[in-house]
């Protein structure tokens, strides 16, 4: 399920005010929210690592934000499923609330001007190509 940023039911958070994005001006950010118990999240990690590797030179930054309240659960997950991208922690779900995370995982594609251009709930292998196409398009702008 992909929700466009123009959806009237979704307010865009002020990305420029998020400390997480400090010094990332001009980058395209794939902001992903995940948790240790979420199986589709586990399946999404290799794909996100691949995206970071292939599109990093063009300015893509993948940031995966963990929402586990118990950090040990997240660390155990990462031992089993390493992340080849930046991982941050939001155990109080402050950022998740600001972005109105509606499912797990959920990702937000933020363009070089700090605008949320795409929201995607869940992870399906069959949707990878379409999602990658959108990322590539935003990177070219």
């Amino acid at each position: 399920m992909a929700l466009t940023a123009s959806s009237p039911t979704h307010a865009s958070p002020d990305v420029t005010a998020v400390p997480l994005f400090k010094d990332l001006s001009g980058k395209v950010i794939l902001l992903d929210f995940w948790a240790s118990w979420c199986q589709p999240c586990r399946q999404s990690f290799p794909w996100m690592g691949d995206l970071q590797r292939r599109y990093g030179p063009q300015g893509l930054i993948v940031i995966a934000v963990n929402l586990d309240r118990d950090r040990q659960l997240a660390e155990r997950f990462l031992e089993q499923t390493p992340a080849e991208f930046r991982v941050e922690y939001d155990s109080q779900a402050a950022l998740a609330t600001e972005f109105e995370v509606a499912a797990m995982p959920m990702s937000f594609l933020i363009d070089r001007q700090g605008r949320v251009r795409n929201r995607h709930a869940g992870f399906r292998a069959a949707q990878r190509a379409e999602r990658e196409s959108i990322i590539a398009q935003i990177l070219k702008e």
Binding site: M1, F33, A35, W37, C38, Q39, P40, C41, Q43, L67, R69, A93, A96, T97, V101, A102, A103, M104, P105, M106, A121, G122, F123, R124
Partner: protein, 63 residues
């Protein structure tokens, strides 16, 4: 899932955030009376439905 739905019905409708998986630890998820919850549990089991009228979306994503 059905037990959770029954607990929700017994305790009233509660909005559950998608990232709150450890639901059983929440005080408002504990059944205060079992009769109605058990009845609903049986109903939902027989109906083979997902139950949980007050279930506020969330859970894991699409796969």
């Amino acid at each position: 899932m059905l037990v959770m739905a029954a607990a929700l019905l017994a305790g009233g409708c509660t909005t559950v955030k998608p990232w709150e998986r450890d639901l059983h630890a929440r005080p408002d998820m504990q059944p205060s009376t079992l009769d109605g919850a058990i009845d609903d549990h049986i109903y939902f089991s027989k109906e083979a439905s997902s139950g949980g009228r007050g279930f506020g979306g969330g859970g894991c994503g699409c796969n």
